[in-house]
């Protein structure tokens, strides 16, 4: 800590103009009458306030503290009086508790400020600073002692001791990191598959169901072009981890609107299913503009063209929303005919240009 006594030196007036509410030192009659007036010189830099103003400040501060006293009681009373458990009651309770608490704190705060400014003296004290660095003598003493200690410990001249100590510490230091391995499984190829894959469900093709209601979708019922549905896999409606990759948007397009980017073999009667998970950082691309067929992600405004294989037309996303191959089952309900051909959602290091790989495979096979 600081190594000197708080020497008070000659007073210096900081500003000739008075701070509002503080008495002028010249006209001030002090707390103890004449004695203290002389005392102003005796304690330099401490200017006691005018007694009349101090008394006024005292009364104001007391009033503030009294308000706090009452508000504190009001707080406790509100806690007892106002129950919660319904939204309206909670609102009343919140208002009563918060209002009284605010008033109580405010009263105390204002009261103390009035006390400091009105009753306590105005200070203009001076204290010395010293350079932070220790003096040369201390420094050299510490240096010598350090060397002496190092020598006494033998660490400098006994390399065996030193090296084995370092060797001992290294694996021990790594141990906590090793322990963290079980925080999670390794990624492997998990990011490349979703629950839509029929293999994942023992060869069964999953039905597309409406998010929220869980209703399967009959292709014939979803026949008005321009419509949009948010769709999840049947049986996984509450599996958030599955939904984070498998959620779809289902759009009905007019045949003449469909452009080359869309894989028509994966559509059914003008119905196309795209991953709802944005390829930027994974927000659900939930906004759809019917007239332009633009799909917009509300997080960072990546915009995709639904008629052209959900190609990116604006924003930070670098890849189209993957398309899911869909068809109908024997009862006419929409089902997934397979998994996405490429990983859905945000890009990652091991992903590679999956789209190009798919294109090349299509060409060779």
């Amino acid at each position: 800590m600081t190594d000197h006594t708080p020497g008070t030196e000659l007073p210096e007036d900081r500003a000739p103009k008075r701070v509002i509410g503080t008495p002028s030192p010249a006209s001030g009659t002090s707390l103890l009458g004449r004695e203290e007036q002389a005392g102003e010189a005796a304690v330099p830099g401490v200017h006691p306030p005018d007694e009349k103003k101090a008394r006024r400040a005292e009364r104001i501060a007391a009033l503030c503290f009294f308000i706090t006293f009452l508000s504190g009681i009001g707080f406790i009373a509100s806690y007892v009086a106002f129950q919660v458990n319904t939204v309206d009651n909670t609102a009343v309770s919140n208002l009563a508790l918060g209002g009284t608490l605010t008033l109580a704190l405010l009263g105390l705060a204002v009261g103390i400020v009035v006390w400091v400014r009105g009753v306590m003296p105005k200070y203009n004290l001076v204290q010395e600073r010293h350079p932070m660095r220790s003096d040369a003598e201390t420094r050299s003493y510490v240096g010598e002692t350090f060397l002496q200690g190092a020598q006494e410990s033998g660490i400098t001249k006994r390399p065996l001791l030193r090296r084995t100590l370092l060797a001992a510490a290294a694996p021990l230091g790594l141990a906590p990191l090793v322990l963290l391995k079980d925080l999670g499984p390794l990624p492997e190829t998990k990011l490349r598959h979703t629950v839509w894959s029929p293999e994942h469900n023992g060869g069964k093709e999953l039905r597309l169901v409406v998010e929220g209601s869980g209703q399967p979708i009959r292709a014939a019922d979803f026949n008005s072009p321009g419509g949009l549905l948010s769709v999840v896999p049947e049986g996984y409606e509450h599996d958030l981890t599955a939904l984070a990759k498998a959620t779809l948007i289902l759009i009905n397009l007019r045949p003449e609107e469909i452009k080359s980017g869309t894989n028509k073999n994966w559509m059914h009667n003008g119905i196309v299913a795209y991953s709802k998970i944005c390829t930027h950082v994974g927000c659900p691309a939930a906004l759809y503009e019917q007239t332009t067929h633009h799909i917009l992600c509300p997080c960072h405004q990546s915009t995709f063209d639904a008629t052209d294989g959900a190609k990116v037309i604006f924003g930070p996303a670098a890849r189209p929303l993957p398309q899911l191959p869909i068809g109908v089952d024997s009862e006419g309900y929409l089902v997934a005919k397979g998994d996405f051909a490429v990983p859905v959602g945000p890009s990652f290091w091991e992903r590679g240009d999956a789209e190009a790989e798919v294109r090349n495979q299509g060409r060779t096979s």
């Binding site: 919140n94 997080c299 405004q301 930070p316 959602g345």
Partner: protein, 554 residues
């Protein structure tokens, strides 16, 4: 009224008992009357400190009921619209705190408001320290601690914000995961280890909870303590003024004045936060609904301190590189890491860069007025503009919706403004600083207008100027020339530069030192001309009152 002449017995007894065991008297002798200088801007850091204390208090209250679990439950509380909906335990318990615990909603809202004020307080405090050069020797370590505190506070905010597991916080978490997984080489592993497998999994809330209530606050408490101790030991900087030197500190004593004022300030902060918690709704999670990765609301906005990251993600063009079968998603990595890196690293290194450029190895205890170090102030303003553009663009959808501007136009504005506006801010600030310096030099040189009009014998009317008030003059004269490294000028003239300033780095250093240092507008240059930036100035003597001051018309 009576004046006690001896310390009352109970106090004397207790303190005597303690002193016998701790020797605390020596400490108190040195520190009870420790002097604290006075300036409104010195209170900004206190806002952050007190908000932090309130965060600890309200946060502890919240932990008594919060259940950090992602296990599914059917909501069966008093909030009708969600009855029967499957939600996580974390979300259900957050609703329980809000609607079924008396004072729970109040504490939740105060906690959230306090978090915002904590970070806002740190930011303005840091700007004050930056612009007044209060980070200079011997305070560099405390500055670094401050940068660490701010970085950790952002992370603390992120982890806390995610805990209620509502739809809005989930969107933030999803973006966080999208950023984490985009990191080259380690991204997928980080994501899988953080979430215990695939996103969102069932572990992240409980893990964030541990980070949020134990690990990060523990480090924060330690760093805040270190920050306070260093401030105490090194003593606070003071503004230039009458009687204030580099060797003293002028102000009010800790006991009783500063102590009481600080206490009152804590209560003010608490009162404001309690008022906000009462009257200003924040984060109404019941309106957002429980999290599902399949849904999002339009216009989702993070807490303000995350806005700049959001903005940088939004204005980034879609760059993605595929090399040798691996993907580098630049459209995520660059906006997530570069602005944050520039701001935080730049802040951390600034004291050392400045010292390298000025060669200034002295201790500084008198704060600079921002105008008196134009380059620093301009860099700071450019930084604020850089941050501000990103922050603004983090809400470009709201701007677009409210002001009927095309969404893509706002994005394009951001892409250009992020480079152009900081440069403009730099130039404008630099000119303003010099202008303000000229005004100071003018007041020192010519005095201030007295309001007295005098008619000279030959008929000319002049306004009499009088010397400025003592304290104002002392405040202005606190200015001193910014040091330059020795021989920096030699490298520009014919002289041979000293050893350290040869070679490309040395020459750059010399040139930067010359631009950064020196006296641009000397205070007492009433009679000189041709200095600094090349503008000649012709001051008349005090009281001559010719009234046509050329220096103001530059």
């Amino acid at each position: 009224m009576s004046t006690p002449t001896a310390v009352p017995k109970p106090i004397a007894g207790t303190s005597g008992w303690l002193d016998d065991r701790l020797g605390a008297g020596n400490f108190l002798k040195r520190n009870m009357r420790k002097i604290f200088p006075d300036h409104w801007s010195f209170l900004l850091g206190e806002i952050a400190l007190y908000s932090f204390i309130i965060l600890l208090l309200t946060g502890t209250f919240l932990t008594f009921w919060f259940k950090p679990s992602m296990g599914h439950v059917i909501y069966d509380g008093p909030y009708e619209p969600l009855k029967g909906v499957m939600v996580s335990e974390a979300y259900a318990s957050s609703l329980h705190i809000s609607f079924e615990v008396r004072g729970g909603l109040l504490m939740r809202q105060i906690h959230h408001w306090a978090a915002l004020l904590f970070i806002a307080g740190m930011m303005v405090h840091m700007l004050r320290v930056f612009f007044t050069g209060a980070y200079r020797k011997p305070r560099e370590l405390n500055w670094i601690i401050g940068v660490l505190l701010l970085s950790l506070a952002l992370f603390e905010g992120l982890t806390g914000y995610s805990l209620p597991d509502d739809l809005l916080s989930g969107a933030g978490l999803r973006i966080t995961q999208g950023v984490a997984i985009s990191l080259p080489l380690v991204g997928t592993y980080i994501s899988f280890f953080l979430f215990g497998g695939e996103y969102p999994g069932e572990d992240v809330i409980s893990r964030f909870y541990t980070l949020h209530i134990l690990l990060i606050p523990g480090i924060l408490v330690a760093l805040v303590t270190a920050h306070m101790i260093l401030m105490w030991v090194q003593k606070h900087t003071q503004m230039p003024g009458k009687g204030r030197t580099e060797q003293n500190v002028v102000g009010a004593p800790f006991y009783p004045a500063f102590m009481a004022k600080a206490g009152a300030y804590f209560l003010f902060t608490f009162a404001v936060l309690a008022g906000l918690g009462t009257f200003a709704q924040i984060n109404p999670i019941w309106l957002f609904g429980p999290y599902t990765p399949a849904d999002i609301s339009a216009g989702s906005q993070p807490d303000f301190y995350m806005g700049f990251l959001e903005g940088s993600l939004r204005i980034m063009p879609a760059w993605e590189i595929n090399v040798l079968g691996y993907t580098i998603p630049l459209s995520v990595i660059i906006p997530a890491l570069v602005p944050l890196g520039i701001v935080m690293t730049g802040l951390a290194l600034y004291p050392f860069l400045e010292r390298w450029i000025t060669g200034d190895n002295r201790e500084h205890h008198i704060a600079d007025r921002p105008r008196n170090n134009p380059v620093r102030t301009s860099i700071g303003m450019a930084g604020i503009t850089f941050y501000g553009v990103l922050w603004l663009l983090g809400a470009n959808d709201e701007i677009s919706a409210n002001f009927q501007i095309s969404l893509y136009a706002t994005t394009w504005f951001g892409r250009i403004a992020i480079f152009v506006l900081p440069a403009i801010a730099y130039v404008v600030t630099y000119r303003m600083c010099l202008g303000l310096q000229r005004k100071d030099a003018d007041i020192i040189g010519h005095g201030v207008e007295s309001g007295v009009i005098q008619r000279l014998p030959h008929g000319e009317f002049i306004e009499v100027h009088v010397p400025p008030a003592e304290d104002i003059e002392a405040h202005m004269r606190g200015k001193e020339a910014i040091p330059m490294i020795d021989g920096a000028e030699a490298s520009e003239t014919d002289g041979v530069p000293p050893r350290g300033l040869r070679g490309p780095v040395g020459r750059l250093r010399a040139r930067m030192s010359q631009a950064y240092g020196g006296e641009k507008i000397p205070l007492d240059a009433g009679h000189g001309n041709g200095h600094g930036d090349g503008h000649g100035e012709h001051h008349a003597a005090i009281g001559s009152g010719t009234g046509d001051d050329k220096s103001l018309t530059h």
